[in-house]
C-alpha cells in the first residue's frame, strides 16, 4: 500500500508555523520509513519568491518530498456545482460564494489521496473532494479576543473565523499538540470530539552543535531574554508593569531585559517604526515603556534576530522570560533549556503541558497579575542555581526531537486514519 499525502500550507507563513510544517513533513516521512510503509508525500506552499526561497525546502527535497508551489485560485461555486453533483458528494460544497483551489499547475494536489492543511486560517472555503486533516495550533482569540479586534470594524475577522471553523469541522480529523487546543477544537470550533487527535509534541533544536552552558554559570552582564512578538496576546503591558515593580522594589538589581521577536522593533522609539504595523496597541506599549523610568533604563529592544544571533544571545542570557496570556505553548523555553538557561514563564495550560512533557522546571507566574511577575523574578533570582540544576539534560530533550518522535507521529497518523476510516488507494 502506498500512502499518497499532501501537506499544504495555504498561507504565507514563516517563523514557527513554517518550522512546524516542515517538522510535520519530516516526521511523516521518517515515521513511514521506520515503519516500512510506502509514502509519497507532496508539500504545497504559496508560490511567493519574496517569502520563500529554495533553501527553505532543501531538506525536504533530500528526504524525497515533492515540493510543489501553488497559487490560490478562486473558483465560483456555480462552476463547482455540476462536477460535485456528478461525483455524488452531497455533503460537500458548493453553497455559494467563492472557493479556494491550490493550483500547482499540475494536478492541484488531486493526485494525493489525503491532504493535511496547516493550519485552519483559511480565508475561503476549500471545495473538498479529498479527505483532509487540519492542523490547529491554537484559538488565542477565545481567551484574548483583542487579537481579532473588538471593534465594530473587526466583525469581518470573526465572521471569517466562523467560516473557517466550518472548514475545520468538515475535516476528517484535526491534529493538535496540546490538550488545551484539543479542548478548544471541540468546545470552541465545534469539532466532533472523536475526530480531534493529540499528536506528540516534538522539538527541533536550532543547532545541535552549540555547546551547553555550564550549569549555574552566571553571565557577566545578566539579562533576561524576553521572547515575544508585537501582538496583544503576548501581554506586554502586564509584563512591563510587573518588571517595573520588580525594579522599583530592587533598585540594586543589575538585571536587564532584552526584547526579541518578530516586529518587536516597533516598541522601540529609536528604530524606524513600520507605519503599516503601528497601531493603538503598539503605541500604548511604547508609551508604557516611555513612562517607566526603570524600564526605559533597563530594557533593550533587539527586534527580530537571525537564528545564529538569537542562539548567541540565548547562550549568554541569565534567563528567558515568556509572558504570554495564552497560546499553544512556546519553544523558546525548550531552546533555553537546551542551552542550559532557566526560564520564567506565565502560567497557562499549554505551558504546563510543555513543562511536563520536556521536564522543564521554570518559575511560573499569573500573567494577569503584574505583581506576581515581580514576585516570580524575585524567586527566579533567589533560586537561580537550583533552577539551573533542575533543567532537563540534552539527552532527555533529544528524546523529543522530531526524528525520535517521528515513528510515534506516524503511528498516530495511521490511527487517526483508521479511526476516521479513510480509504487510501492501493
Amino acid at each position: 500500500m502506498t500512502y499518497k499525502v499532501a501537506v499544504l500550507l495555504p498561507e504565507t507563513y514563516r517563523g514557527g508555523t513554517l518550522r512546524g510544517a516542515l517538522n510535520i513533513v519530516k516526521m511523516l516521512v521518517l515515521g513511514a520509513k521506520s515503519a516500512g510503509d510506502k509514502l509519497e508525500l507532496s508539500f504545497g506552499h504559496v508560490d511567493s519568491p519574496s517569502i520563500y526561497n529554495d533553501s527553505d525546502f532543501e531538506e525536504l527535497r533530500r528526504l524525497g518530498v515533492k515540493v510543489r508551489p501553488f497559487f490560490r485560485e478562486l473558483i465560483d461555486a456555480s462552476k463547482l456545482e455540476p462536477i460535485f453533483s456528478f461525483l455524488g458528494l452531497p455533503n460537500n460544497p458548493p453553497k455559494g460564494g467563492q472557493y479556494w483551489c491550490f493550483n500547482d499547475g499540475i494536478s492541484n494536489f488531486e493526485d494525493c489521496d489525503f491532504w493535511i492543511i496547516i493550519s485552519d486560517r483559511i480565508q475561503h472555503p476549500i471545495p473538498i473532494n479529498r479527505p483532509y486533516a487540519v492542523v490547529v495550533y491554537d484559538y488565542i482569540q477565545r481567551y484574548v479576543p483583542a487579537i481579532f479586534g473588538e471593534t465594530t470594524a473587526s466583525v469581518g475577522n470573526w465572521k471569517m473565523f466562523d467560516a473557517y471553523a466550518q472548514a475545520t469541522r468538515d475535516a476528517q480529523f484535526v491534529i493538535c499538540t496540546t490538550e488545551q487546543t484539543r479542548r478548544d477544537c471541540i468546545n470552541y470550533a465545534g469539532v466532533n470530539a472523536d475526530r480531534v487527535f493529540k499528536f506528540p509534541l516534538e522539538f527541533d533544536p536550532l543547532k545541535n552543535n552549540t555547546p551547553n552552558r555550564i550549569c549555574g554559570e552566571t553571565p557577566s552582564a545578566p539579562y533576561l531574554l524576553w521572547t515575544t512578538n508585537s501582538t496583544q496576546h503576548k501581554n506586554h503591558l502586564n509584563v512591563i508593569i510587573g518588571l517595573g515593580e520588580y525594579f522599583r522594589l530592587h533598585p540594586e538589581s543589575d538585571l536587564e531585559i532584552y526584547v526579541t521577536g518578530v516586529y518587536t522593533h516597533l516598541f522601540s522609539d529609536k528604530g524606524s517604526a513600520d507605519i503599516h504595523f503601528m497601531n493603538e496597541y503598539v503605541i500604548g506599549i511604547r508609551k508604557a515603556i516611555e513612562d517607566s523610568p526603570e524600564i526605559k533604563k533597563r530594557m533593550r529592544i533587539l527586534g527580530n534576530l537571525s537564528d545564529d544571533v538569537y542562539l548567541e544571545m540565548l547562550q549568554s542570557a541569565h534567563g528567558v522570560l515568556h509572558g504570554a496570556l495564552y497560546d499553544n505553548g512556546t519553544y523558546s523555553m525548550i531552546e533555553a533549556a537546551w542551552m542550559g538557561v532557566p526560564s520564567i514563564s506565565s502560567d497557562y495550560p499549554a505551558i504546563r503541558e510543555i513543562c511536563e512533557v520536556f521536564g522543564l522546571n521554570p518559575i511560573l507566574f499569573n500573567p494577569h497579575k503584574p505583581a506576581d511577575l515581580a514576585l516570580g523574578i524575585q524567586k527566579f533570582e533567589d533560586q537561580y542555581l537550583d533552577l539551573c540544576s533542575k533543567l532537563p539534560n540534552r539527552q532527555k530533550l533529544q528524546s523529543r526531537t522530531f526524528n525520535v518522535v517521528a515513528p510515534e507521529y506516524w503511528r498516530m497518523f495511521l490511527k487517526a486514519l483508521d479511526v476516521t476510516k479513510i480509504l487510501i488507494h492501493e
Partner: protein, 551 residues
C-alpha cells in the same frame, strides 16, 4: 364522597399583556399551586377572557397541567383594541424561534436535495420531443401555458398597483415638500416643528401606556361584572396584584397575591419599566383585597408596607413561601448521561449574535462543564455580573467551561458585553426549553449560579439544582437569607455558597473554587436540602387553599 372532593377554587387569570411563557415565574408558581390541589381532587376553575385563553393554555400545558381536569370559564369581555395593540407589539418577536427550530431550513434542504432534481428531471422529460411521446405532452404544455398566462396577469396587476401607489406617493410627497418649503420661510420657527415631532415621539409611548391602561381597566371591569353574574363564583383567587379594577368591582371575596415590586428597589435600573397604570392597579388590588399573600417577609415589610402603607393598613397579610422544588422527573442520572441526552436538544441553542456567527455554536455537551443560570433576564437579574465573572473564569483561569442562559430576551447590556468581549462561542442561549430539557440542564450542570439582586420569594433555582446534586451559588440578598433562616438554618451554614452580587471578581474566584472542589458545598447543600424539602408545593398549595376557604 370525602370533604376534600367538595373543595373548589376559582382563579382569575388576566393581565395587561397575556404571558404565555411557561417559564415565567408567576405562571410556574400558579401551576405549582394548582397541580397538588388538582391531585387532591380540588375543583379548579380558571376565569379568564378570550384575549387570555390561548396564553393560559400554553402556560398550563407547558408546565404539565392536566387540562382535561381543569375548567376554564371564558368571558366575552376582551378589549379588541388591546388585541390589536398586542399584535402590533409582537411583530418580529418570532425571529429567533424560527431560526432555532430549523423548520424552514429543513424544507430548504429538502427542496435542494429532493425537489430540485425531480423538477430538473421533469423539465428534461418535457423537452424531449420525439414523435412517440409528443402527443401526450401537448396537454401538459397547454396546462403550463395556462398557468404561465395566469401568473403573468397576476404579476401585471401587482405591477400596476405598485406603479399607481408610487405615483400617488410622489404626488403627495411633492405637495408635502412644497408645504415644508413654505413653512421654512414662514415666520414660525423650524424648531417649533422639530420640537413638535420630538414631543410626539416622547409622548407616544406614554400615550400607548395610558391608552393600554385605560382599555385594560375597562376590560377588567367588564370581566368583574360578568363574574358577578356567575352565581357559582363567590370568591376569587388573584395570583398577582396587577388586576386592581377587577378586584375592586368583584363583589365576592378576593385573595390577592402581591408577588413583588422589584422596580421600586432599583428605580433607575428600571427607568423604562415604570408604569403608572400598573401601580394604580396594584394600589386598587391591595386596597380592595380581603386577604393578601406575600411570598416573603422581605416583600411584605420592605415593599408592600412601604409603598402601600395606607392600602394595607388593617389587612391580613399572610406569608406563604414558595414550596421546595422536588422534580417529578428526577432520574438521578450522572452528569455525563445528562450531557449525552442534552446533545439531542442542541437545536435549542439560539444564535443571538448573527453579526458574528453564521449559525448557533456547535457543541458537544459531553466535552465541557457548564454553569447554568435559568432565568428570564430582566434588569435586576444581574446577569451581567455573572457574565463578567464567567469571562474571568474562562480567560484567566483557563477552565474548560461554558455558560448557559435560558432567557429568551437577554438585556441590552448583557448582549453588548458578550458582543464586545467576543464571548459568543462560550455563552450559549437555550431559550424557552421544555421542562424536561431544563431538568437535564440542571442535572448536567457543574454549577448553578443565581446572581439576581432581588426576588419576591425563595430561589427556585436553588432547590432545582440542589435536588439533582448540582452545587448552587446565590447572591447574598435578603430573600436568600430568609429562605434558609425561616427554617432555622444559620448563616454560618450557607455562607460559603452566597456571594456579593456586586463583585464579579469575587464571584469568579468563588466559581473557580467550587469547580475545583465541589464536594464541601455539595455536602452542606445536601444536608440543608433535607430540611427545606419538608415543605413542598403541596404544603404551599394547602396553605393557599386554607386561606382561600377562610376569606
Amino acid at each position: 364522597m370525602s370533604n376534600v372532593d367538595l373543595k373548589k377554587m376559582d382563579i382569575a387569570y388576566l393581565g395587561r399583556v397575556p404571558i404565555a411563557h411557561k417559564s415565567e415565574g408567576l405562571n410556574v408558581l400558579l401551576c405549582d399551586t394548582i397541580r397538588p390541589l388538582m391531585s387532591q381532587g380540588v375543583d379548579i376553575s380558571i376565569h379568564t377572557t378570550y384575549r387570555h385563553v390561548s396564553a393560559i393554555r400554553q402556560a398550563l400545558e407547558g408546565n404539565g397541567i392536566d387540562m382535561k381536569n381543569l375548567k376554564i370559564d371564558i368571558y366575552r369581555v376582551e378589549s379588541i383594541l388591546l388585541i390589536l395593540m398586542g399584535i402590533f407589539d409582537s411583530r418580529g418577536s418570532k425571529k429567533n424561534d424560527l431560526k432555532k427550530n430549523g423548520f424552514l431550513s429543513s424544507i430548504g434542504q429538502w427542496m435542494l436535495g429532493v425537489a430540485r432534481p425531480l423538477i430538473l428531471d421533469f423539465l428534461n422529460w418535457l423537452l424531449d420531443f420525439t414523435h412517440l411521446n409528443i402527443a401526450y405532452k401537448i396537454p401538459v404544455f397547454l396546462v403550463l401555458i395556462f398557468i404561465a398566462l395566469f401568473m403573468a396577469i397576476i404579476l401585471i396587476a401587482v405591477a400596476l398597483i405598485f406603479i399607481v401607489s408610487l405615483l400617488v406617493y410622489k404626488f403627495f410627497r411633492f405637495f408635502l415638500n412644497r408645504i415644508i418649503f413654505y413653512l421654512k420661510r414662514s415666520p414660525i420657527s423650524r424648531d417649533f416643528f422639530l420640537k413638535l415631532v420630538h414631543a410626539y415621539r416622547k409622548k407616544r409611548e406614554i400615550f400607548q401606556q395610558s391608552l393600554g391602561g385605560y382599555l385594560y381597566a375597562q376590560e377588567q371591569i367588564r370581566f368583574a361584572k360578568s363574574v358577578n353574574g356567575n352565581n357559582a363564583v363567590k370568591k376569587l383567587f388573584f395570583f398577582t396584584a396587577f388586576e386592581g379594577h377587577a378586584v375592586e368591582k368583584f363583589k365576592g371575596s378576593s385573595l390577592v397575591v402581591f408577588p413583588d415590586i422589584v422596580t421600586s428597589l432599583f428605580p433607575l435600573r428600571f427607568i423604562n419599566s415604570h408604569n403608572a397604570a400598573l401601580l394604580k392597579e396594584m394600589r386598587l388590588a391591595i386596597k380592595n383585597a380581603d386577604t393578601i399573600v406575600c411570598y416573603s417577609e422581605f416583600v411584605r415589610d420592605r415593599q408592600l408596607r412601604l409603598i402601600f402603607p395606607n392600602e394595607v393598613l388593617g389587612k391580613t397579610v399572610e406569608i406563604i413561601p414558595q414550596g421546595y422544588f422536588l422534580s417529578q422527573s428526577l432520574s438521578q442520572i450522572s452528569k455525563y448521561e445528562a450531557s449525552e441526552q442534552l446533545n439531542h436538544y442542541r437545536s435549542a441553542i439560539a444564535n443571538f449574535f448573527p453579526e458574528l456567527l453564521i449559525a448557533a455554536p456547535i457543541v458537544d455537551f459531553t466535552q465541557f462543564s457548564y454553569i447554568l443560570y435559568p432565568t428570564i433576564d430582566r434588569p435586576h437579574k444581574n446577569t451581567l455580573t455573572l457574565v463578567r465573572a464567567f469571562s474571568k473564569v474562562l480567560r484567566h483561569k483557563y477552565k474548560n467551561i461554558k455558560l448557559i442562559l435560558t432567557t429568551p430576551n437577554p438585556t441590552a447590556d448583557v448582549k453588548k458585553f458578550i458582543l464586545d468581549n467576543r464571548l459568543h462561542y462560550d455563552i450559549l442561549f437555550m431559550p424557552s426549553v421544555p421542562i424536561k430539557v431544563l431538568d437535564l440542564l440542571f442535572e448536567g450542570a457543574a454549577l448553578m449560579v443565581h446572581p439576581s439582586l432581588a426576588e419576591g420569594g425563595d430561589i427556585f433555582n436553588f432547590s432545582r439544582a440542589a435536588a439533582v446534586g448540582t452545587p448552587a451559588l446565590m447572591a447574598d440578598i435578603p430573600v436568600v437569607c430568609e429562605m434558609f433562616e425561616r427554617k432555622g438554618i444559620s448563616k454560618d451554614q450557607y455562607r460559603n455558597w452566597i456571594f456579593d452580587p456586586i463583585d464579579a471578581n469575587a464571584l469568579a474566584e468563588c466559581i473557580d473554587e467550587i469547580l475545583i472542589n465541589p464536594s464541601p458545598v455539595l455536602a452542606s447543600q445536601k444536608s440543608i436540602v433535607q430540611i427545606l424539602s419538608q415543605y413542598g408545593f403541596s404544603d404551599m398549595a394547602n396553605q393557599y387553599m386554607k386561606l382561600y376557604e377562610s376569606i
